[in-house]
């Protein structure tokens, strides 16, 4: 039986990114369920609400940085503040920014698993999912 990642979440305000990523994840057959959030705050609210029900928490999050209301960095701050563990929930940054300053900021979170620059190819998603599967 092929092992699947139980729950993957996509946090991005870009509708196309959501659409395409969801398709890629579904086609990979390595993901059981997908949770979609269009803003950082929606996502963090969900996590806080289900904090004690681990089966409802995503194993893997693809997080956009540039979002209008709560951006990726703010999400990460809230995530840390509410004592979610980056060891239990793997987060990948997905951004269109090639800005060195963003990259520098990323380096301040040593436990973040990866920094993916849009556009992200199917292959890249595939590798990421596999790495996550090995972890489990």
């Amino acid at each position: 039986m092929i092992k699947k990642i139980p729950l993957v979440s996509i946090i991005d305000d870009d509708h196309f990114f959501q659409y395409s990523t969801k398709r890629i994840l579904e086609q990979s057959e390595k993901v059981k369920d997908i949770l979609q959030f269009y803003d950082g705050e929606e996502a963090i609210d969900y996590l806080i609400e289900n904090k004690n029900e681990s089966h409802r928490l995503p194993n893997l999050i693809f997080l956009d940085l540039n979002m209008p209301f709560m951006d990726g960095w703010q999400f990460l701050d809230a995530f840390t503040t509410h004592k979610f563990s980056l060891e239990l929930i793997t987060i990948y940054i997905c951004t269109s920014s090639t800005s060195l300053m963003d990259k520098e900021k990323f380096n301040k979170y040593p436990k973040l698993n990866g920094y993916l620059i849009k556009p992200i190819s199917k292959h890249e998603f595939s590798k990421t999912l596999e790495r996550e599967l090995i972890k489990h």
Partner: protein, 909 residues
């Protein structure tokens, strides 16, 4: 009430006593009345019963053999309570009497009728009563008979009493030693008693025929007539004395007491012979007056005193000489006015005079003020009528004579010594006798009277408290113990309170190691001393002047130092790599440091001639002049950034200029100190930083807002390529379109930004803030009406210099945001204000809307595509554009906000 009755009863009893009728013998007159009453009333018993305190006593009785009964058995005690007849028909049927012993036993009274005996004063003394052993009632006539009889009885009682009294008066009249008479108002005697004959010799007949005034001593006649007249004209009684002629022609002094009876116009007079007393009195009076005149008028001391020395009387002059009032001295004795050391002598005198009957000699007394008197006296012992012994004293004042003698004696003795030791006043202290003697000059220096008697402690007390008194005490002590003589210049305070310098020289007579006598001189050196002190003071004054001079020199030196300081300041100012200048109170520059001279190439004189205008940047000139004037007028710090032209290359450099006023005590600026710091590099750096910030913003926009949608495009295209599903392809193409629109939008915004930035040199318009607000509100009119927004403006600064196009845009964004993000719970209030702060126009847009959680969003507020409220159709462009517009033209924007309270944007232009 009861008290009142008792009081009546007491008076009644007193009246009864006065009639003196109780316990008298039976009298025929009374018996006739009782017998008649018994007959009229047809009763066996009739009584005149008088009610005493404890009994009823029968003055007269028929049919009864007892004289009295206890009062509580008496029927009559009830009868005397009223004024009518009391009738008891049958006593056995009357509560008051049925148990009465006189009813239940002998005489077995059944019937009783009694009428009260009421005297002219209204007191019921008793009754006339009738009694029977059987019950009955009286007829009307019987009752009337009893009543009439009772009135006769009381009339009899009263008359008897009057007769008794008359008898008494007659006896008095006949037997009195006093002269008693009745006279008419015509001055004729009507009745005289036998005393008249005894005292005056006139027979009664002679007197009754002689008008009274004929017997008056002529000198008394007027007075007597006056007295009689007073009596007639209403004076109740009169008392006077006069002399009355006797039959032998001499006069007797009598004292009259006279009253007039108005009804009869009779004068009742009683006189007592006071001739003997008057004569004695007169004699005594004459002798006393003579004595008193002699006593009072004597200018010496006259007195009487007892054998203990206590004064009995003292004459006025004597009391005065002794210093006391008469009242004071009469409480004193000889011992009180004599110095204690003379008391033994005084006792000796008292003994001697008691023994010998007289004494004479000298005696010393002390005046109330302490001064001494010497008297020569000659006194005798006398006896009073009561045979008590006393002494009559008579003394003359020989004080002056005595003093002169004494003084002479002393002066002679002292003169030799005085000549030996010194010149002026002399003094002596006899240690053994503890006596101090001062010569006249010494006394004069002390300001005391010649009769002043000093002693050692008084002498010392003249020395001024402190140094002088301490010193004299010290030298005296040394003299007493060691025999050391002294010569001191000391200060005394004389009797008049005047301070003066004296030279006191003292010698000691030391015999067998013991000090027996001190003597010396006493010299007034006040004038000399004052001159000496004056000299000393002038020398001191000279010293002060010298000190002042030295101080003056120091001041001059310090001024030199000030000059040095100024030079130091100039050196310091020259060594600072900044422009330093000073200006006077009018704002005219009077000093520039060398940096200025080097920078501008102008010397002080050139600068003063050409003015700052020649080096200031033309754009800064007006601002500079305005501010400098403002500072001069208000004496507030001058502060601003201005450009000065550098001589070396003709370039303008930015300087931060600050001038501080130096104030005097009246808070007026008297000098200005200004430094101008070169901030050109800093200004460039600021500019650069600003540009970098702009670049960063731009970079961000490209990274996120452009690259995002741009990166989608190749992905979508590849997915379209891969897809075989038509529906999916269509979906993807739709997304492609969206991405492309978004990309386009972002590019448009970027273009706007670039356009703004490229327009940085757009000319500034003088924008009327109210006009701009009105324009913007007309654009937003519909929303304002729908959302019922209340907008207020308060433009204290009416205009602002800014490109009008952008200012409108800024106003539009601010106001539309406030309307859009209003709090639905409250009525939206938007307030727009302006004012000038530090040369900048400050605009405030204040609302009571939803507010922004700045803890979360502060760093993103002015970033592109950032939103702070979800559920609104927001793109996150407005604030980004506003900031760009403001900053491009040198302004600043900042935000303060609190969720559900409101937001305030502050814009500085």
């Amino acid at each position: 009430m009861k008290k009142l009755e008792q009081s009546y009863e007491e008076k009644r009893l007193k009246a009864l006593q006065d009639y003196a009728i109780l316990d008298t013998l039976a009298e025929e007159e009374y018996n006739r009345f009782t017998e008649l009453a018994a007959l009229i009333c047809d009763t066996p018993i009739s009584l005149v019963s008088l009610i005493d305190e404890n009994r009823q006593w029968f003055k007269s009785k028929v049919g009864l053999n007892i004289n009295e009964t206890p009062r509580d058995l008496a029927f009559c005690r009830y009868a005397i309570l009223g004024s009518e007849t009391l009738e008891i028909e049958d006593a056995t049927k009357d509560k008051r009497f049925k148990d009465n012993l006189l009813v239940i036993g002998e005489p077995n009274i059944r019937f009783y009728a009694g009428h009260p005996l009421i005297d002219p004063q209204g007191y019921a003394l008793g009754t006339l009563c009738v009694i029977d052993r059987k019950a009955k009632i009286l007829t009307k006539n019987q009752k009337r008979g009893l009543e009439l009889l009772a009135k006769e009885v009381i009339a009899l009682i009263v008359e008897r009493r009057k007769i008794e009294e008359l008898k008494n008066f007659e006896k008095l009249f006949q037997l009195s030693n006093d002269l008693i008479c009745v006279a008419g108002m015509d001055g004729l005697f009507k009745k005289v008693n036998p005393s008249f004959q005894k005292v005056l010799g006139w027979t009664e007949d002679e007197l009754l025929q002689t008008p009274f005034f004929d017997l008056c001593h002529p000198n008394d006649l007027l007075d007597v007539k006056m007295e009689i007249h007073k009596l007639i004209s209403g004076k109740v009684g009169s008392s006077f004395s006069q002399r009355v002629r006797t039959k032998s022609g001499t006069y007797r002094s009598v004292q009259w007491v006279v009253t007039l009876e108005a009804e009869t116009s009779n004068i009742y007079a009683i006189a007592r012979d006071i001739t003997e007393e008057t004569t004695k009195e007169q004699k005594l009076k004459i002798s006393e007056e003579k004595l008193r005149a002699f006593f009072e008028n004597s200018q010496g001391l006259m007195c009487t005193h007892d054998l203990d020395g206590k004064f009995l009387s003292v004459n006025n002059a004597g009391a005065e000489i002794l210093g006391y009032t008469l009242d004071e001295i009469l409480t004193m004795s000889l011992f009180d006015i004599t110095p204690p050391e003379k008391h033994a002598y005084l006792k000796d005198y008292l003994n001697k005079i008691a023994e010998n009957g007289s004494a004479s000699g000298q005696i010393q007394t002390r005046h109330k003020d302490g001064s001494l008197k010497v008297w020569y006296f000659n006194n005798v012992l006398e006896n009073t009528f009561q045979n008590e012994q006393y002494i009559i004293g008579n003394a003359i004042d020989i004080t002056i004579k005595h003093l002169l003698e004494k003084d002479l004696e002393r002066t002679k003795a002292l003169l030799e010594q005085t000549n030996k030791v010194a010149k002026v006043g002399g003094w002596e202290f006899d240690v053994d006798k503890q006596k101090v003697f001062w010569t006249a000059v010494t006394k004069e220096i002390h300001g005391v009277t010649p009769d002043f008697e000093p002693n050692l402690s008084i002498g010392v007390s003249f020395y001024k408290e402190g140094e002088s008194r301490d010193r004299i005490t010290e030298v005296l002590n040394i003299a007493f113990t060691k025999g050391t003589p002294w010569d001191e210049q000391l200060e005394i305070i004389d009797v008049q309170g005047k301070e003066l310098w004296v030279r006191a020289i003292g010698n000691v007579e030391f015999i067998d190691g013991k000090c027996h006598r001190l003597f010396g001189t006493f010299q007034d050196i006040n004038d000399y001393k004052i001159a000496e002190l004056g000299l000393k003071a002038s020398i001191e004054k000279q010293g002060e002047l010298n000190t002042a001079l030295v101080n003056q020199i120091d001041l001059v030196k310090s001024k030199d130092q000030t000059i040095e300081k100024i030079q130091e300041f100039k050196f310091l100012a020259d060594s600072i790599p900044n422009i330093i200048w000073t200006a006077n109170s009018l704002g005219e520059q009077d000093y520039y440091n060398s940096y200025w001279v080097d920078f501008t190439g102008m010397t002080l004189a050139e600068s003063q001639a050409k003015g700052l205008e020649s080096v200031l940047h033309p754009e800064d000139l007006d601002r500079y002049i305005d501010n400098w004037k403002k500072s001069l007028n208000t004496a507030n710090t001058f502060n601003g950034e201005y450009r000065f032209k550098r001589l070396a290359d003709g370039m303008y450099k930015w300087f931060l200029c600050k001038a501080f006023p130096m104030m005097n005590k009246k808070e007026e600026a008297i000098k200005w100190f200004c430094s101008c710091t070169d901030i050109d590099e800093y200004k460039r750096a600021l500019d650069l930083e600003h540009k970098i910030n702009q670049y960063e913003d731009f970079n961000r926009i490209v990274a996120h807002n452009l690259r995002g949608p741009a990166s989608n495009i190749p992905m979508i295209l590849s997915m379209v390529e891969e897809s075989s599903d038509v529906k999916e392809k269509e979906e993807l193409l739709q997304m492609l379109k969206q991405s492309s629109v978004k990309l386009n939008d972002t590019l448009n915004e970027l273009m706007k930004v670039l356009e703004i930035r490229n327009n940085w040199n757009l000319p500034f318009d003088e924008c009327d803030l109210q006009a701009i607000t009105d324009d913007v509100l007309s654009m937003l009119n519909a929303q304002v009406i729908v959302k019922k927004v209340n907008i207020t403006t308060n433009f204290r600064q009416k205009t602002v210099s800014f490109p009008k196009l952008y200012l409108e845009s800024i106003f539009y964004n601010m106001i539309s945001n406030s309307i859009k993000y209003g709090n639905p719970e409250v009525i939206s209030q938007i307030s727009i204000t302006s004012k000038t702060v530090n040369d900048k126009v400050v605009l405030k847009f204040e609302d009571n809307g939803l507010g922004i959680d700045l803890k979360r969003h502060r760093e993103n507020i002015f970033k592109l595509n950032k939103i702070f409220h979800r559920g609104f159709d927001s793109k996150g462009v407005g604030l980004f554009m506003t900031k760009t517009q403001i900053e491009t033209f040198g302004g600043k924007i900042s935000i303060e906000s609190e969720p559900n309270v409101g937001t305030t944007f502050t814009i500085e232009l």
